[in-house]
C-alpha cells in the first residue's frame, strides 16, 4: 500500500477507534481536546510513515517532531493537511516544508544540546521550534516582515525561550551571535551566501538547498574543516525558491 493509502487508512482507523472509544468509555471531553487527540494521532502516524520509513533514525529528532504541534504553524485553511506528506503554503509565496525535509535537515546537522544554530528563513517558525528543543540556542531570520511578525507572536505564545527571531536579510546572517555550530537555510538559494560561510564555526555544518530557482534544487551539506569548505550534494529537493535574486 502506498503512503497516501496508508494515510487514509490510518486516519479512518483513528476516527473509527476514536468513535468506538467514545462509545465504550464516554467521558466529558471538549471539542478542542478531541481535536488535539486526532492531531496527536496524525503526528504519530507522520513520524512512523513519513520519517522512520524513510530512514530518519535520530531518536531525539523523531521525539521532538512527535511532540511539536505542526498544525498550529500552518494557516487555518490547511490545518487538517498539516501532517500530510507535503509542503504547505503559508502566504507571501512561502511554504512550511514537508515534514520529511524538516527532519532530514535537522538530522543532518547532528543536533546536540550545546549547539548554537542559525536558521535562515523562519517562515511560520516550525523548523525553528523543532531545533529549539534539540539545541542550546536557535537564531532565526525571516526577511518577509508579516511572516516574521506572525512567527514571533506564535513562538512567544508557545514559549520557546532559547529561540531568538529577527526580521532581516538572511544573506548577512547574524554576525552578533556568530559563530554557529550549524546553519540551516530553509528556502532554496541560487547561491551560497559568503557571509553565512564566514559565520560557520570550524567543524561546523551548513545545510542549504541550492539550484536553479523554480526548478528542483540540490540539498547541499557544507562542512568547514581546517578552514576549507567541502560541499556534499545529497538529494534533489523542491523548495519554494526564494529571496535572493536568481
Amino acid at each position: 500500500m502506498n503512503i497516501k493509502a496508508w494515510t487514509v487508512f490510518i486516519r479512518l482507523s483513528g476516527c473509527l477507534a476514536g468513535l468506538l472509544m467514545s462509545l465504550l468509555f464516554p467521558v466529558q471531553t471538549t471539542a478542542a481536546e478531541k481535536e488535539d487527540e486526532l492531531f496527536s494521532a496524525f503526528r504519530q502516524q507522520m513520524v512512523e510513515q513519513q520519517l522512520k520509513r524513510r530512514g530518519i533514525a535520530d531518536i531525539r529528532v523523531l521525539q521532538v517532531m512527535n511532540e511539536i504541534p505542526r498544525h498550529v504553524f500552518v494557516p487555518d485553511a490547511y490545518r487538517w493537511n498539516a501532517y500530510d506528506d507535503t509542503p504547505l503554503p503559508i502566504g507571501h509565496g512561502q511554504t512550511i516544508s514537508q515534514p520529511y525535509m524538516v527532519a532530514i535537515m535537522t538530522e543532518l546537522i547532528s543536533p546536540r544540546t550545546q549547539m548554537r544554530v542559525l536558521e535562515v528563513g523562519t517562515g511560520s517558525g516550525y523548523q525553528a521550534a523543532v531545533l529549539s528543543r534539540l539545541v542550546d540556542q536557535v537564531y532565526s531570520i525571516e526577511i518577509i516582515p508579516p511572516l516574521a511578525i506572525a512567527a514571533r507572536k506564535l513562538l512567544t505564545e508557545l514559549d520557546y525561550p532559547n529561540l531568538q527571531l529577527k526580521q532581516g536579510d538572511g544573506y548577512f546572517g547574524w554576525p552578533e551571535a556568530a559563530p554557529f555550530d550549524a546553519i540551516l537555510v530553509t528556502a532554496a538559494a541560487p547561491t551560497v551566501p559568503p557571509p553565512l560561510l564566514q559565520q560557520l564555526k570550524e567543524g561546523g555544518l551548513m545545510v542549504i538547498p541550492v539550484g536553479s530557482p523554480f526548478r528542483v534544487q540540490q540539498l547541499l551539506l557544507i562542512e568547514k574543516r581546517d578552514g576549507e569548505l567541502i560541499s556534499n550534494s545529497l538529494m534533489p529537493v523542491r523548495f519554494v525558491p526564494l529571496r535572493r535574486g536568481p
Binding site: G93, D169, P194, L197, V216, L242, R244, G245
Partner: protein, 785 residues
Amino acid sequence: MNRLLAALSLLSAAIIAFQLALMRILAIIQWDHFAALCISVALLGFGASGTLLALWRRWFLNHSEILLPSLMLGSGLSMALVVPISQSIAGGFDTSLLFIDSRQLWLLLLTQGLLLIPMLLGALAIGLCFMRQVEKIGLLYGANLLGSALGGPLALLIMVGLLPQQLPAACGLVALLGGLMLLDNKRALTAGMLPLLAILLLLLAPPALRPSQYKSLSYALALPQANLLATHPSSEGLLQLVEAPAMRYNAELGLHFQGQLPQQRLLLVNGDQAASLPAGTRKELGRLLNQTPAALPYRLGPRSRVLILGSDLAGPTALALENHAESVVSVLPHAALLRQLSTALSWLDSARVSVLHTEAQQPRTFLARTSQRYNLIQLPPVGSFGGNAGLTALIQQPMLTIEGLASAWQHLTEDGILQVSSWLDAPPRNPLRLTATLVAMLQQAGVSDPAQHLVAMRSWNRLTLLVKRSPFRASEVETVLKFCAANRFDPTLLPGRSEVLPSHYHRLANSQLLPLLERILAAESPALEADYPFRLAPPTDDRPFFSQFLRWQHLSRLPELLELRSIPFLELGYLVLWVTFVQLVLMALLLILTPLFKLGWRGGRLCSCGYFAGLGIGFMFFEMALLQQLVRYLGHPLYAAAAAISTLLFFSGLGSYWSGRLPVKYVQLRKLLMGLVLLLLLYPFVLSPLLSATIHLQLPSRALVAVLICALPAFLMGGPFPLGLRHQARRQESLVPWAWGINGCLSVVATPLAAIIAVEAGFFTLMLLAALAYSGALLSSTFFR
C-alpha cells in the same frame, strides 16, 4: 451580405487576437503550460458550437436574425469579462497549489469553463452564418479565415500599445463592433450600447492582474523596499524592471569566496526572470566573474572575438571586456529585452558603441547566416533559461541539438572554444545528455577521439564543459588544473585521462554521474541509452526537445528514481500534455457523438466524420511542422510564428473563396485533395534543403520565400472544407453544423497530438502524417460521390 462578411471577419479576428491575449495573460499570472492547458480546452468551444447547432438547428435558424448579432455582442462582452471574473473567484487558480489544495482543481475547471464562453458564443455565431447560407460557404469561410489571418497582427499591435489587463477588452471591442454592424433597428442598437460601455470601461480602467504568489515578480516585490521601476508592454512579452536591496547577483563562485556579491536589479518577462542587472562597474563585475568557471577559456589563451548566444548579457560581456576581447557579439531572440538591457545598464550601452554588437534573432539563424569565426562561443547554462525537466520539458531548444552544436563548432577558430554548462540534477540527466550530444556532434564532425577536445569541471551546482576545436595541449590541461585548484572547482574530464577524476571539493551523494560520463566518453552511449531509465539520446533538429527525459517504460519507477519527496512537478511536463490530450479526446468524443442521438447513426456518418476530422488534423499537423522550420529560418520566433500562421490563414481564405466558384462535383473535390496530398508528401523532402539554400538572404527576401512556401498548400487547404460542407448540405443539410463541430473538435485535439508526435517521432513524420490525414479525408470523400 457585405455587412455580414465584414462582421464575420471582425469576429474571427477578435477570437484569434483574444486567444493570443489570453496566452499572454495566463503566462503572466501563471505559466505558459497553464495557458496552453486552458486555451486548448477553451477552443473546444468551436466543437461545442457545432454540437449545439446540430441539436437545435431549427431553433437557431428561426431566430438567427436576432441571435447572430446577440452572439457576437455576447462573445465580445464575455471576452472582456472572463479574465477579471476568474481572477476574482477565490483569488483565482494557482497551478503551484494544484497538488496541495483540492479546491484548485475546481478553480481550474471553473477557469476553463469561463474561458470557453467567449469562444463558444463566437463559434456559434460563425457556425450559424455558415448554416444559414451553405451555398455561399466559400465566401463566408473565406471571410472567416481572412479575419482570422488579421487576428495575429492585431494582437501583436495591441500588445505593444496596451497593458496586458487591457487586452481582453480591446479584443472584445472588435468582436462587439462586428455585432453592432448587424443591428438594424434603433432599439437594438441602443441595447448594444450597454455592452459597448461596459467594454470601454474595462478597457480604460481594467482590474489589475494578480500573478501567482510563486512567480518571480511576486517574490521580488514581497522583499522589503522592493520597487517596480518600469513596466513596458511589448509584443514579445511584458517587461518589468524590479529592484530590492536584498537581491544579489548570482555568480557561480567557489565556496571559498570571501567578498560580497553585488546587488542586482531584475528584468522580468511575463513575471519570470529574464536577465540580471548587477550593480557596480563593468570592471568590478568582470573581476568577480574571473573567479567563475566562465573565465576558464580566457585563462587558456586570448579570446579576441567572443560570441554570446541566447544568454544573460551583462555577465558574459563584462567578463569578455575584462579579458580584453576586441569584439563581443551577443545574440538574443528578444528585441525588447535587448533594448531594455542596453538602456538599464549604462556601461553596456557605452560598450555597444565600441566593442559590443547585439543581434535580436535566433542563435541558430544568426549562425546560419554569418561566416565569421570566434575564439569563444558561450551558450547559456542548460536548465536555466527556457527548458528543464518538468513542465517546460516540451520547449524546443534548437541550439541543444547535434546540428545546433555543430553550427557553433563550425564557427570556432582553430583554437576556439565552445563553452556550455549544465545544472547538476539527480538522478543525472542534463549533464549526461549534454555531454552525449557534444560527443555525438564531435563524432559527426569527424573527430576521431572526442575526449581530446573535451574538458569538464564541477562547481557545487554545475558541470561546465569546454569543447576546443583543436585538441587540448598538455600545457592547457595544466592550466585547467591550476584554475580549478585556485577557485575550488573539481576537474571532471581531462584529455589524456581515460577515467573521470574523483571529487575533492564537491562530492556527489549520487555517484552515478561520474561513471556514466565515463561510459559516454567511451562511446557507450547507445548501450547506456538502452538501459538508463531516462532518455539520453542526443536531440536532433527533427526532435529538438533536449529537456524531455521521460521514458514510458520507466514511468512507474519515477517515484523511486526521483526519490520522490517534495517534487510534484518533476518530469510531469510531458504527462501534462498527455492529460490535456486525453481530456480533449474525451470531450471531443462527447461533443461529436451527442448530436447523433438526434440525427441518427446511419447514412455515412462515419465517412463524414472521417472527412472533416482529416481536414482538421491535417491542417494543424502541417501548420505546426511548418512553423518549426520557419521560426528558425526567419529568426524571430514570435514574428515568424505570427506571420506564418497569418499567411496560412490568408491563403486558405483565398482558397476558400476560390472554391466557392467550383461546381459541387465530387471529381473537383477529389482533384483538389489529391493535389494537396501530393504537395504535402513532397514538402518534408524539399522544405529543409530549400530553406538551407536561402537562409543567407536578407530578411525581406526570406520573408518572401516563407510566404511562397506557405501560399500554395494553404490555398489548397482552404478549399476542401467549404466544398465538403456544400456536398454535405446537398446530401443532408442538417449535418452541416455537426460537420463544422467535428472540424473544430479535431483541430483542437490535433494540437497536443502534434506535439506528442513531434516528441516521439519528429517533425518530419508529423508533416508526412499531415499528408496522411488529408489522404484519410480523400478516402472518406468517396461518400460524397
